[in-house]
């Protein structure tokens, strides 16, 4: 059981980032290739505040979230009205900058030596109980994000975001100030990524720059694209099938020969790449497919159906 | 030369042409109609740039309904679109050279013939095609098509936006190439009067359907006005 808790924490973090990416890319069409930049900023800000300045974890997390939001706002202001390719490159570059920042400013981050130890946000006395509780908190946060994403399906704001993704010019012609909406939503969702990163600091406890390589961004992307970028549960399914299978099922339950075990993370990323190719070529909408359409949940629509029946 | 039968086509799921049939011999064939009638769509479809969703297309005895555009070009069909009909970043010489990829005669030979038709071009060879004026650009576009040594040339409103002087020159040039080079021409135009003066036969399209096909001489103002819904 205890062996499961840590990988499950990591998996939940990926799910959270995946749902946030679904909101940005799958719903609004913002191509954020710098997920790890935002989560990493949150992670290291939290870590630095807690370890170097002994700020209480909750306050550190709050500051990290706000700082990530502020940075996202400034970046968004500059790039969100450029075409999506430029957004992609700029966010990727941003995450690389965060990586270099963490690596080179070692007076603050301890660089490659590593920053530690970030404590768990709470301690109920017993380590394994605390860990389990922390996992439950993470799951609750993931669930909350999923509920939010699901509610958006039927909320005016959700329709607005879809309209921006599908045809921003048309959306503008219907009177929607699309740039402002994109900027606000990007800021909020990136801030949330920062918060998730802050919690991840506590999952990892010991922070090294290697946690901030672009691989994390692409793991989240692969999970989302595999599951279905427009679907609320796309990221969940995708994460289970990628990270879930490798980091949990194979890692813990499959007896891999030792000479092969070393290659496992490598083979894993190779297969992730192959998966991405196959999905885009053969099922670009992802495993969950297109959004199924339930009858609109509106009082009159339901009553009208009854009358007709 | 060209057999068109029950042709249906359009953009995405918008059907523009709803069953067009006509056949073309060695002649200048005019396609007339108001804007939105489907003239450009027809020519684009004939050049195989739009998917054919119904009917068939035969060129020089071969069924080309599913052919790729570059194969049709190699078979002797040249197409001059109404807009974006030159490679703007390429020089005039390069534009013409691309036309000369097809066929066996030397490029020099063909260029010489072309300069006889458009003497003004020889002075512009090093200029970028995108910087030419409307009339000169149109000459390069037609010139590029002629360099292909085609047996059939499709011209989509070549005189649109040209001054009357250029337009007249272009119309008489079309007559010349038909007479001297033996080219068949499909000429889409909105301006009926000048077109009918050089065409042998004409087809009036209205909202994607054939309104009338007749000898050019037989089309009077009344039937045109009716076809254009004027």
């Amino acid at each position: 059981m205890n062996a499961l808790v840590f990988p499950l924490q990591g998996l939940t973090i990926i799910v959270c980032l995946g749902v946030l990416l679904h909101l940005q890319f799958g719903r609004t069409g913002i191509v954020n290739f710098g997920v790890v930049g935002f989560s990493g900023l949150g992670m290291y800000t939290t870590g630095i505040l807690v370890v170097n300045y002994e700020v209480p974890f909750a306050l550190a997390l709050l500051i990290a979230t706000a700082l990530t939001g502020l940075v996202a706002f400034l970046l968004g202001l500059l790039i969100l009205n450029l075409e999506s390719e430029a957004v992609l490159v700029a966010t990727l570059a941003f995450s690389t900058i965060v990586f270099y920042l963490v690596t080179s400013e070692s007076w603050l981050t301890e660089g490659v030596v590593g920053l530690g130890t970030v404590p768990r946000p709470f301690d109920v006395g017993d380590t394994s109980t605390s860990q389990l509780l922390f996992l439950l908190v993470l799951v609750a946060i993931a669930a909350a994000l999923l509920v939010y994403a699901a509610r958006l399906q039927h909320a005016p704001y959700g329709r607005l975001l879809f309209s921006i993704q599908d045809n921003e010019t048309l959306s503008r012609s219907l009177g929607k100030p699309t740039f402002r909406h994109k900027l606000v939503f990007f800021t909020v969702t990136c801030a949330a990524m920062g918060a998730i990163g802050g919690l991840d600091a506590s999952v990892n406890q010991f922070l090294v720059p290697r946690l901030l390589t672009a691989d994390l961004t692409f793991v989240v992307w692969i999970a989302l694209v595999l599951g279905g970028r427009k679907r609320v549960f796309g990221a969940v399914l995708g994460t289970l099938l990628t990270v879930g299978i490798f980091d949990i099922v194979i890692e813990l339950y499959v007896d891999v020969p030792r000479e092969f075990a070393q290659q496992l993370p490598n083979v894993q990323l190779m297969l992730f790449g192959l998966t991405l190719i196959l999905v885009i070529l053969f099922r670009p909408q992802g495993l969950l497919g297109e959004r199924r359409r339930k009858p609109q949940d509106s009082p009159t629509a339901e009553s009208r159906k009854k009358v007709q029946a | 030369m060209l057999e068109v039968s029950g042709l249906r086509s359009g953009y995405g799921d918008v059907t523009v042409l709803r069953g067009i049939s006509f056949s073309l011999d060695h002649e200048i064939f005019a396609v007339l109609g108001a804007n939105g009638a489907g003239k450009s769509t027809l020519l684009k479809t004939l050049a195989r740039l739009l998917p054919i969703t119904g009917g068939s297309l035969t060129f020089r005895g071969r069924d080309v309904t599913q052919s790729q555009p570059h194969r049709l070009a190699a078979a002797g069909l040249a197409y001059v679109p109404q807009e974006s009909n030159v490679f703007p970043d390429l020089t005039v010489a390069e534009n013409l050279s691309i036309g000369g990829l097809i066929g066996t005669r030397t490029k020099e030979e063909r260029l010489e013939e072309l300069f006889d038709l458009f003497p003004a071009l020889s002075a512009r060879m090093r200029q970028k095609a995108g910087t030419l004026s409307g009339g000169e650009g149109q000459m390069v576009a037609v010139g590029r098509a002629l360099m292909q040594d085609p047996s059939l040339i499709l011209l989509d409103e070549p005189t649109a936006g040209l001054s009357p002087k250029y337009a007249d020159a272009l119309f008489s040039m079309i007559s010349t190439i038909h007479r001297d080079k033996g080219l068949s021409v499909v000429l889409a135009e909105q301006n009926a009067s000048k077109t009918l003066a050089i065409a042998h036969r004409a087809m009036v399209l209205n909202l994607g359907e054939v309104f009338v096909i007749d000898q050019a001489a037989n089309l009077d103002t009344d039937s045109l006005r009716e076809g254009y819904r004027l």
């Binding site: 690389t96 692969i222 | 197409y79 050279s97 590029r144």
Partner: protein, 289 residues
């Protein structure tokens, strides 16, 4: 002076890679992240011929670069062309290329491991240029970079193939109706761009070492340099690619990569914002009456 010369030398492969990357972007209109692996493959092919098969370094360059070109053409035929035919969107094409990049990079790692490979250059003579010591390989890299740049320029501007490439890139429909076979021309472009990328990889390997992240570490800079350089014209990319490549290399030497990266990002955003403002008037060109 030192830093300038080192900058120039280090920029040479970068410029090569930028040329190759530009050709593909120019023709197919999408950012090919897997180009990183084309660069890497050139280096590994050369290592294969040089240190494993014992071929002279300069003799190894040729087959290695050709193989990199072939591999690049293969990725086009096997992955990208099918995707383009299926109408995969611009962003999805990039995601696809990221997938291919992962697959190739980690395949390389599977076969070659994480070891660092060094080229075996038999007579590394050291020369002094304006008082800065450089190796003959570095000089060769410069010379070859210049040659390839000139070659790429001549190919795109002085040959019929070049006309076809530029024609296809600027107006695909018109090119097809002019008789240009889009597939043949595209394969040629991917091959040439692969050769340029492969050479870039080889020389980066010469300057330091070869490992599986060689291309990946560079791809972001290549992408930014090329986009800043002005996609849409090979000529512009040649000139601006060279200028930005040198500037970046110099900057990287003067400060640490962090500031070079920040500088590049800011330059990237500034250039794109400026261009977007200009493009708005171009976009309105599409507005038909």
């Amino acid at each position: 002076m030192d830093t300038l010369i080192i900058g120039l030398i280090e920029a040479a492969p970068l410029v090569l890679a930028a040329i190759g990357f530009t050709l593909i972007y120019y023709l197919n209109g999408f950012i090919n992240v897997a180009y990183a692996e084309t660069v890497t493959s050139g280096a590994y092919f050369a290592i294969l011929f040089n240190s494993i098969l014992g071929l002279n370094f300069y003799a190894a360059i040729v087959p290695a670069a050709l193989l990199a070109g072939a591999l690049s053409a293969l990725t086009y035929v096997a992955v990208f062309r099918p995707a383009l035919r299926r109408g995969v969107g611009k962003i999805e094409m990039i995601v696809l290329s990221v997938g291919l990049s992962f697959l190739m990079r980690h395949a390389v790692r599977l076969f070659f491991g994480v070891d660092l490979y060094l080229f075996d250059i038999t007579d590394p003579s050291y020369l002094s240029v304006f008082g800065t010591g450089v190796t003959s390989a570095q000089i060769w890299a410069m010379v070859l970079a210049v040659l390839i740049a000139v070659g790429a320029y001549l190919l795109t501007y002085k040959t019929t193939y070049g006309q076809q490439i530029r024609g296809l890139a600027s107006n695909a429909d018109l090119a097809a109706t002019s008789g240009i076979d889009p597939t043949k021309t595209s394969v040629l472009v991917w091959f040439v761009s692969g050769v340029a990328g492969g050479l870039a990889g080889i020389f980066i390997g010469v300057f330091s070492f070869v490992d599986y992240t060689l291309g990946w570490n560079l791809i972001l800079i290549i992408i930014m340099v090329t986009i800043i350089g002005g996609i849409g014209s090979v000529r512009g990319a040649l000139v601006a690619g060279a200028a930005t490549g040198i500037a970046t290399a110099v900057l990287t030497n003067l400060s640490d990569p962090l500031y070079a990266q920040v500088f590049l990002l800011l330059l990237f955003i500034a250039v794109l914002r400026f261009r977007a403002a200009a493009a708005r008037s171009v976009k309105t060109l599409m507005a038909r009456s």
